[in-house]
Symmetry: C5
Subunit: 326 residues, 5 copies
């Protein structure tokens, strides 16, 4: 699909002008949007706008380009990443922009672009032109990065608290997924930060100096996002290490307790075995209270060992197993 | 709430002048403070001072801005972080400053600002002007970072010594929390350091060259804080690794001791079992001293195994369990 | 083997001209390719072209050179790495290039070079000259890096899902090999990225300014490759940590379950041992229902312990052992 | 305490001149040393020398300043760290220096300063002036860093060899302390390196250009110290990982051996139990050689299991427990 | 020992000229080599050449200097590291060089220097002068770094394959030593790389611009060495982690198998114990086939448990213990 807006000198907006009128006198600037364009519609990039083959290739490529800006003599070419609402999967938006036009190209629907398309009439861009519109699009996209990072932060906190008492395996799996999401976010946000840095510091973009502050503002957001991502990665490592060590500690405590029980019964069972032997001459067997003496001895040994191990802290039956919490 | 100070040419101070008099002749500079301002009071930023919408947005935003400085043609805009007394949670202070005014904006109470407000009369700022006041505010805030870092250092030392003999689980939880606090501190202190670096090295701040040394002094403190935080993080990792490995070592020693006890009794119980069998023809059973010979043999085997395991160092009943100390 | 192409002013192509005609008037530029050249053929580098001994040494050296560009007064010398199809083992291609010629040197067959050799007639290089041909060769080689990285990504995902239920040992071995491959890829891709960076930013390569954008495009690809490699390394660490911790967790659960079974039978066996003793006077033995009372008591003790351990979560016989997934 | 040296044009030295004579004609330069000065003596800094309040504050502050250089219009202010002999705890030395004087300030005794104070007469500084004296002081202090680093290296080697056969716990504790010392050293040495770098590269220190090479020499030492510290930290990590893994391996081998013994006796004890049953009709019991057949069977089973486990390498009684040596 | 070569205008070589003739007309340049010089021979550095005391100190110092270049007004002073053949222990070579002379100083024999000394007659240095000789020496030394790195790579591969089936302890010890060697190599190679970088980029070395390419070639080698070392360190970490986790996995599997055997016999032994009790009234004992019924029941229980555990994968007697292979 291809559609366009043309803004004339008196800031009036015309919708879907035919191609040949886009360049006519009086048109201040135009916005041409290509969404899942047909083979034929794609021709406009090379035939009408005469964009560089490398830039067109980057648009058509199914491979996701990393965010970047390329400086061509008559226009700039940008690749921007929006993120899908549900998962932080990048959606590529390609832009050609100069003082007279902005051409946007995308293969997937883009809520942030649609939002600006609808509101162009009341937007400042109508007056300030294509570079301001470019800012508005990028700004909107970067704003949508935050919910992802906030959601991850919340999920990390939920895992840390573990109020729903999930198993260690489930917690580890959730952490693993969150770390993978942070990794993916980083692959979008780091080059976006570098891209904004280049926009701000490039001398070839002198024409947007007026909007300099606006791009600076987006750069601020990206710096904050980078810091949050790095910090959340650290946090997730700490949670994982903490859980694993406490879980392992709990398991070992349990094994120790079980082994203590076995250890207490070993000598008792041995004594019983001794008096179960069938020797002809075993004097104790014939003592009248032999049985009770042995029972008492076994009881004493058992109690002594029990107290010994409790004192050493090797037996923790009574203590409720501390749930693997953080 | 909105309040102001005006200092006139003769360094006299006027409190809460009406807006229209702030700009009159003879006023050298003014300090306007907005604390939890009403919708109406906020209008002063755009209507009276005509600050840039992006800067005003940063003030009003509920999202915590990261510390930064933005250079506008007629004034500078700064975002500073103070820290709460109890926990290292940042409190945002926004400042607009030039040679004629300083406008401060904050949504939470700020002891450091209040301190300066009270003492303006005897402060050097009265004479040296808004940039010196800006320094005084930042300096005061950065000074308040130290108690947090010192407290964390002390708590790490307490954990290392573990004089109160806390359980490994509690120690790990305390370490985890301290690491999270260090992480949060870093997210305030690193951008504050970068901010001070920019203040010192910015050519656009020529007007504060006179106060250059004072900002350098704050930068020193921030460098020291960064080093302390990195060093404390390393220290906390070392404590954790050390505790975990010694705890695991102690547990394994215990398990080994318990298993040795079981292992000693296995062959003895087996021998008792053998002589408890009911075969018709078992010659040993009828020997007169058979029982005592077997008892002695079992005793000998038990002692031999005991000594063998002690010599190998696999049995450590007698040695007091070394508490998991670092 | 040595072969050449000569392109004359009218863009006509001549194949395998004799050496002495390569420099004649009317020849616009030439491509000389040396593939496993004989001692004699190698002489052309020093005798005919008079290349620097250091550059020739780099060609002949059996040691793999790292990718680089050396600036000589009359030509540039480049070392490029292609990758073998099956495993990411580098194949070295050496190039001498200036406005009049490109000399390629390789000891192993190079599909990417062959591809360009075949298609020179319809290629843009015929008109645009040696530097564009150089770009085409590098571009083609870098394109062939991607399949390796994509394959590794897929294999990592396969390991993460483990649908074929392979043993932990096999998974760890596969991960280890993938990490080694990533390491090797990095040793090719990082210096290639630095090489392209130098090509783009070198002032001495002014003559290729026209093709600047084309080299920038390759640099983009290398940046993306670097990011993917770093991200895949992180991913592989996370998979490994996750597998190991879950495997260890499963094993410990199993040991706990087995030990619980032993622990339940210890006191029961002890009781049976007690009533197997042969004392003359053991009143319980003569009670009529003594046997059944003891049986019932043992059953009760066993059930009680079983329930106790189940409640504590120390016994997980019923639950299917969760395969080490993810 | 306050004391001074004055060197006159003819390189003669005067000791403890009264303040008012320090500035008289003919005095080439002076060295004033303040050691634990009284309130009154401190006044000299502000009243006589008129140093900047920020620099004086840095001197008086109980907080340890990090090493640094501050450039004031008429003098330089430096903070230097010496290290105590026994432990690498920093001692702060503050210096004010220009072509006419050097003022040193310290709260703790400083052997390196005392050394120079004693030898000033025969020192080159007498002729070369305050900046050379500054170099001599710093050089002396940095030389004293080496013994700490060498001692740590030796202690690491001792731990690695463990010729005194210390317990794993003691070794880990020693390693932990060495790592903490390395951390502390780094907090002194890194900023000292940066300080020397600034001294060498500062354009404002043009006056010391003559002594440039001498400061470069100190910088060399600091570079080497940084490398040694980083390398020792790596080394300590490797020792720790190595010890822990071998210790854990040894423990597991021991547990396996013990468990094998138990496992061998389980079926034997079971067989004895079977023939200890009291059934009326158990034909084997009445066979004449039944007892010996069963004994032989048990022996065969025991030997078979023993050999089986030895072959599998699960039993290592005979092999001396390999001491946890790296 | 002290020896020298003098090359005159006609490129003729004179050996061991007396000192006073070294500076005579017609001598183009000289090479003076000091090897373990006597106190007296050392005087030549200060008395004849008048080198700076700091440089002479660096020569005489027993402390190993790190590789570096110092720029003195009339000559350059370099510290270079060769490596011993067997172990990567650095041997220091000090050089003073300008257009007229090269003075080499070393306390240990240096094969690379000897090699050049012997071949000076046929070397290019005779004509190209001291800076080219300097290059030749450095080049030769850096070439000798490679065998160390290649040997380490091979040893790592041997450890990875473990065809000689060495114990985990021996493998870990070998890995530890290789990592320590890599660390030592890095401490030589990193500053050598920085040194070559400075040689290439220093403006004060304009005089060697002609030999620029030759030093660039050495720098290339050092870059490759750095990459190999970093990569080998990563590889060694991966091998270690892999071995440890598989070893731990194997041990745990073994423990599980042993524990399963114990667990199978526990209930059987208990049943035998029950029927070994001596109660007067135990009806089963008097059933004619009671014994066989119980034997059958025990067999059935044993087989059932065996199958149950095999199905759960907790028993792996049959499977050959997988050797700890990477
Ligand atoms: Mg990317
Ligand atoms: Mg940032
Ligand atoms: Mg962390
Ligand atoms: Mg953290
Ligand atoms: Mg903003
Ligand atoms: Mg922040
Ligand atoms: Mg940060
Ligand atoms: Mg710092
Ligand atoms: Mg620092
Ligand atoms: Mg650490
Ligand atoms: Mg572990
Ligand atoms: Mg080379
Ligand atoms: Mg390489
Ligand atoms: Mg690697
Ligand atoms: Mg590299
Ligand atoms: Mg492209
Ligand atoms: Mg990149
Ligand atoms: Mg990147
Ligand atoms: Mg990761
Ligand atoms: Mg473990
Ligand atoms: Mg200060
Ligand atoms: Mg410090
Ligand atoms: Mg540290
Ligand atoms: Mg260094
Ligand atoms: Mg270094
Ligand atoms: Mg290490
Ligand atoms: Mg030196
Ligand atoms: Mg070194
Ligand atoms: Mg190292
Ligand atoms: Mg490198
Ligand atoms: Mg690794």
């Amino acid at each position: 699909m291809i559609r366009n807006y043309a803004i004339d000198e008196s800031e009036e907006i015309f919708y879907n002008l035919p191609l040949e009128e886009l360049g006519r006198d009086g048109v201040k600037w135009v916005w041409v949007d290509l969404y899942q364009p047909t083979e034929e519609e794609i021709q406009i990039l090379s035939d009408y706008f005469r964009f560089h083959p490398l830039a067109i290739e980057d648009c058509l490529d199914d491979l996701n380009q990393r965010p970047k800006i390329d400086f061509y003599p008559d226009y700039q070419f940008l690749v921007i990443h929006a993120l899908e609402r549900e998962i932080p999967r990048p959606i590529e938006l390609d832009m050609f922009v100069n003082e007279k036009f902005i051409v946007t190209f995308h293969k997937q629907p883009l809520a942030e672009l649609e939002y600006n398309w609808e509101r162009l009439k009341e937007s400042q861009s109508r007056i300030k032109g294509p570079f301001f519109l470019m800012h508005t699009l990028i700004d909107k996209m970067v704003d949508e990065y935050f919910p992802h990072v906030y959601r991850i932060e919340e999920e990390l906190n939920t895992i840390e608290d573990n109020t729903e008492n999930e198993s260690i395996g489930e917690l580890m799996e959730q952490l693993f997924d969150l770390r993978a999401e942070l990794s993916k976010l980083r692959r979008t946000i780091l080059p976006m930060r570098d891209l904004l840095y280049r926009i701000i510091h490039s001398e070839r973009l002198g024409s947007i100096m007026e909007q300099h502050l606006y791009f600076h503002d987006v750069h601020d957001h990206l710096l904050k996002l980078v810091e949050m991502i790095e910090s959340h990665r650290d946090f997730s490592s700490d949670i994982r290490d903490s859980y694993l060590s406490l879980n392992s500690n709990n398991m070992n405590r349990t094994m120790m307790t079980l082994t203590v029980i076995t250890t207490i019964f070993m000598p008792l069972t041995f004594i019983a075995g001794v008096y179960g032997m069938n020797f002809d001459y075993m004097p104790e067997l014939h003592w009248h209270y032999g049985y009770f003496v042995v029972l008492a001895a076994m009881f004493a040994i058992g109690v002594y060992m029990y107290l010994f191990f409790v004192k050493k802290g090797w037996l923790r039956l009574g203590k409720k197993r501390s749930e693997p919490k953080r």
